[in-house]
Symmetry: C2
C-alpha cells in the first residue's frame, strides 16, 4: 500500500491526487491530459451510468450514437458555440501515416490531408442538429428525446484527474420540442433528475439554480445547474441542463410543420454530466484514511476478512462464511471474501479502508467460538461485535445507515457553509476564512461579476431556484438588487 495519505489539513489538493491514484481509481496516461480510469474507478462509474441511464429511460429518453468527429464548418454555424469551443479542440488534419523517405521513422503523409479538418467532438450539438434536420418534419416527430454516452475532448491546459481532463466520459442529452414551454420544462426536469441522482445515489447534496449570462453554456438561452460543495469550501458544478431556444434549429435549419400546418423552428435542450462526478463523489465524503463510498455506488459493499493461523482455522472460517456470502448475494448485496494468503489482515483492513468499502466483517478464532462477527463501518470507523444470527439484518441496516449518514454529514457541512453577507469586505473575509457559498446582492451586470471574479476568484455559481425576493443593494456598486445570488470559488 505504501505510506499513508497526505492529510486534508496538510494539503487538500495533494490529498485528492494521492487518493485517486492510491485507491486505484485513475491515473495519468502517457498522453498529455488524458487519464486511464482503472477497473475499481470504472466500476463506480458504471454504477453511476446504470443509475442515470435507468432514470433517463424512465423519463422517456432513448440512447443513440453520433459521430466522434465534427466537420470544422459545422462548429462555426452557431456563433457563440464556436467562440466557446474553438480555442481548446483536437483537430484531425490527415488520415494516413507513412515511412519517412529518409528512414527516420513514421511521419504524417502529406498526400493524405483532409479537405476539411475534423474536430474531435467537445460536445455534439452541431453534429446532432445536422442530423435532426433529416429526422424532423412535423409535430408528429416531436418531442425527440435522445441521449448518448460518449467520450469528448476539450484541450485543457491544466488538468486534474476526473475534475478536468482533456478527454472525459459523459452523457449528453439532446432533445427537440414543438414549443418553448415544453423545452424549458425538459431542461428544468433534467436539473431535478440530476439533483435526485446526486442526492439519493451519490449522497451529495446540491443546490439547484440557473447560471448568469456569462457562466452559461456557449449557445444556450438558459443554463440550469446543480452545484455541490467540497470539504475544502470550494464549489463544484456537478451537472448542467441547457435550454437552447431555437439557436441550433436556426443554425442548422431544423423546421417542422406545427398542428396548424405552419413551419416553425424547433426548440431545443441539451444536458450532461461527466466523469467529473467522480471528483465530486470523492471530495464530498472521503477522509484521511481514504475513500468513503455511498453503499449505492460501492462496487464492493461488504468485505469479509478471515483472521487465522493455518489451514484448519481458515477451513472452519470458510465454512461459516460461505452461506453468509451466498445469502448476501441473493439479496443483491455485493460481497467479497478476501481469503488471500499473500497478505495479512492488517494490510487488508487498510486496503479496504483506502478503497472505501462501506462494511467490513472480520472473523477469527474467538468469533468462531462465540458465533459472532466483528463489524466495522467505513464512514464512522466504529466497530462492534455482532451475533451470527443477527448479522444479515445488521449489514442491511448498516448499508442504509451509511447511505443516510454520509448524506446528512455532507448536508450539514453544506448548510453551515452558506453565508449571507452585506458588504464586499465581509464577502472577501468569509471567502478567505471560511469558504463555501456566499449569498450576496449583485447589480446584475457582467462588469461587476467580472470585477468580483478578478479580485477574489469567486464566481457566481447560481441563482438558486428557491431564491427569495428581498430588496437589497449590490455589495460592490450599491445599485439596487432584488435577490441574493450564490458566489463561491469553484473547481
Amino acid at each position: 500500500m505504501g505510506k499513508k495519505l497526505t492529510s486534508r489539513e496538510e494539503d487538500y489538493s495533494k490529498w485528492y491526487n494521492e487518493l485517486v491514484v492510491k485507491a486505484d481509481l485513475a491515473e495519468n496516461s502517457g498522453v498529455r491530459g488524458c487519464m486511464v480510469i482503472k477497473p475499481y474507478g470504472f466500476a463506480i462509474w458504471e454504477k453511476m451510468q446504470a443509475g442515470l441511464d435507468k432514470m433517463f429511460k424512465e423519463t422517456g429518453h432513448e440512447n443513440a450514437y453520433f459521430p466522434l468527429f465534427i466537420p470544422k464548418s459545422y462548429l462555426s454555424k452557431e456563433a457563440s458555440h464556436v467562440e466557446g469551443f474553438a480555442k481548446e479542440c483536437a483537430v484531425v488534419t490527415h488520415y494516413r501515416l507513412k515511412n519517412a523517405e529518409d528512414g527516420s521513422g513514421i511521419v504524417v503523409d502529406e498526400d493524405a490531408k483532409l479537405e476539411e479538418e475534423l474536430i474531435v467532438r467537445p460536445t455534439s450539438e452541431t453534429i446532432i442538429w445536422d442530423t435532426y434536420r433529416k429526422w424532423i418534419q412535423s409535430y408528429r416527430d416531436l418531442p425527440l428525446l435522445i441521449n448518448q454516452w460518449a467520450n469528448v475532448v476539450r484541450w485543457e491546459m491544466r488538468t486534474r484527474l476526473f475534475l478536468r481532463t482533456a478527454e472525459f466520459l459523459w452523457q449528453e442529452g439532446h432533445t427537440a420540442h414543438a414549443t418553448e414551454k415544453e423545452a424549458v420544462e425538459e431542461a428544468d426536469m433534467i436539473m431535478h433528475l440530476y439533483a435526485d441522482f446526486a442526492e439519493n445515489h451519490m449522497a451529495v447534496p446540491v443546490i439547484k439554480g440557473t447560471k448568469t449570462e456569462s457562466e452559461r453554456f456557449a449557445g444556450a438561452v438558459e443554463t440550469y445547474c446543480i452545484e455541490a460543495l467540497m470539504q475544502d469550501g470550494k464549489a463544484l458544478q456537478a451537472g448542467t441542463s441547457h435550454f437552447l431556444g431555437q439557436n441550433f434549429a436556426k443554425a442548422f435549419d431544423v423546421k417542422f410543420a406545427n398542428k396548424e400546418g405552419k413551419q416553425d423552428y424547433v426548440w431545443a435542450t441539451s444536458w450532461g454530466v461527466s466523469t467529473r462526478l467522480m471528483g465530486a463523489l470523492i471530495m464530498t465524503h472521503s477522509d484521511d484514511n481514504g475513500l468513503v463510498l455511498p453503499p449505492k455506488l460501492a462496487p464492493i459493499q461488504v468485505v469479509i476478512v478471515p483472521i487465522y493461523k493455518g489451514e484448519e482455522q481458515l477451513n472452519a472460517i470458510t465454512e461459516k462464511v460461505n452461506p453468509l456470502v451466498k445469502e448476501l448475494r441473493s439479496k443483491g448485496i455485493s460481497v467479497k471474501f478476501d481469503n488471500r494468503d499473500t497478505h495479512k489482515p492488517g494490510f487488508k483492513f487498510n486496503e479496504y479502508e483506502l478503497k472505501g468499502v462501506p462494511v467490513r466483517l472480520a472473523i477469527g478464532q474467538r468469533d468462531l467460538e462465540n458465533d459472532t462477527f466483528e463489524v466495522a463501518r467505513r464512514d464512522t470507523l466504529e466497530k462492534e461485535t455482532v451475533a451470527a444470527e443477527a448479522i444479515i439484518e445488521k449489514i442491511t441496516s448498516l448499508l442504509e445507515d451509511i447511505q443516510t449518514n454520509i448524506y446528512s454529514k455532507a448536508k450539514t457541512h453544506q448548510q453551515s457553509h452558506i453565508t449571507n453577507v452585506e458588504t464586499y469586505e465581509e464577502f472577501k473575509k468569509v471567502l478567505e476564512e471560511k469558504g463555501g457559498f456566499v449569498a450576496a446582492h449583485w447589480d446584475g451586470t457582467i462588469e461587476t461579476e467580472d470585477k468580483i471574479k478578478t479580485e477574489t476568484k469567486a464566481s457566481i455559481r447560481c441563482i438558486p431556484i428557491d431564491v427569495i425576493e428581498e430588496e437589497g443593494k449590490c455589495m460592490v456598486t450599491g445599485k439596487p438588487s432584488s435577490f441574493r445570488v450564490l458566489f463561491a470559488k469553484a473547481y
Copy 2:
C-alpha cells in the same frame, strides 16, 4: 414507411442498405464514413453489450477505460502493428482553431501544433501495454483481465453501415499472463465465449477456427476467430481473439518477477467484437419484408395493435390489454401497446414487420366478443387465433420457438453451404454458382493463398478447430496437404 424494400433476389446489397435505413437502425452522417446509430439500432446494440458484458464479468474480467489518443511513437514500437494500422488512421496535429486574419472564417491555428502527432486509436494494444508496464511487477499482479467498451477509428475508403465504417463501437479485451499456456487458453476461451454469444443470443451459427498467417491481426502470434455465413453465401468475420505472445510486452518492456524471482516478459491476448455484429445479425435472419430479430435481442419482443372504430371500442380493448401488458412485463418480456390514433393497423403491421418485432398481437371487435387475440410470428409470418386464457403461455413458448427456429434455419443454410472440393476448377465453380464455405486442400504457402485470392476473391476464412486430418493435395499446386481449410468470399 415509403415503398417496399428491394428484394434480396433483386439486389442483395441494396436490400441490406435499404433495410438498415428503413428499419431505423443507422444512417450515414455528414462525416465521411461515420454512421449515426439510431435509437432502435442502438437499443439492439445495448442488448448485445449487456449480454457480452455479463459473460466477460462471469469469466473474471473487469472493465476500464484508456485514452482515445495514441502518441505516434507508441504505434511504431511494434513493427507489424504499425504496418497494419498506419495506412488508415486519423491524425490529430493541432489543438486549437482561430479566426482567420483575412476574415474568411475559422482556421487551424498554426501556433497550436502538437509536438508529437496523436493517432485516434484504431485499437488500443499500444497505449494499454504502455500502462501495463506500470501495473505489473510480479506474478502476483497476474493475470490482468481487462476489457474496455470504446469507439475506434480506421480510415476505410469504402464504407458500409455497420459492416465497415471509419468509426465503430466495440469492446476490446486486453489480458496479461504469467505463462504462454495461460494466455493461449484465454484466447481460446474467448473464441468459445464469442461463439456461445453468437449462437445463443444472436441465433447466428458460426465456425470456430484459427487464421492463416496472412489473415492474422497485426502483431499476433495466433488469431482465433468465429466466422458466420450470410444469406448471399458470403462469410462474415464476427469476432477475433488474438494470442499475442510476448510481442507487446517486449515492445513496451513489460516484465514481471516469476515465482522463482526471475524476470520474464509477460504473455498477452487481445480480443474484440464490434458493431459489425449488427450487420451479421441483420444479414443472417432478415427477409424481404424487413428485419427478423431473435427474441433475446429484440428491443420490443411483443407488440399489441388494437383494431377499432371509435373511442368506445378502443376503451374496451385497452381494458383487456392493460392487464396482459402488466403480466408480460412482470415476466421480463418487453411489450409495446401501440394505441396511436395517427396510423392505421395495416400501417402498423408493416412497420413492426419491417422492424422485426418477434410477436405481434392484434385485437378487434370479434376478438373482444370471442375473448381471443390474433397472434402473428415474425419469422414464419404465420398467424393464429388464440384464446385469451392461453395467451401468456402462447407468447412465452413462441418467443422460445422463434429463437430456436431462426437459429435452426440459419444452421441449415450454413451446413448446406459447406462444400468439399478437390480441384481448383471445381472450387471456382462452387464459389461462382453456390457460394458459401468451400473446404479444400492448400499447400500452406502465402503465395498460393494470395494467388487464389487474386483470382477468385476468396480468402481462407479459417482452419476450423475441429478440422479432420486427411491426406490430400493442394488444389492449386498439387503439393501435399494434411487437412482442408475453409475458403469463402467475405464481407
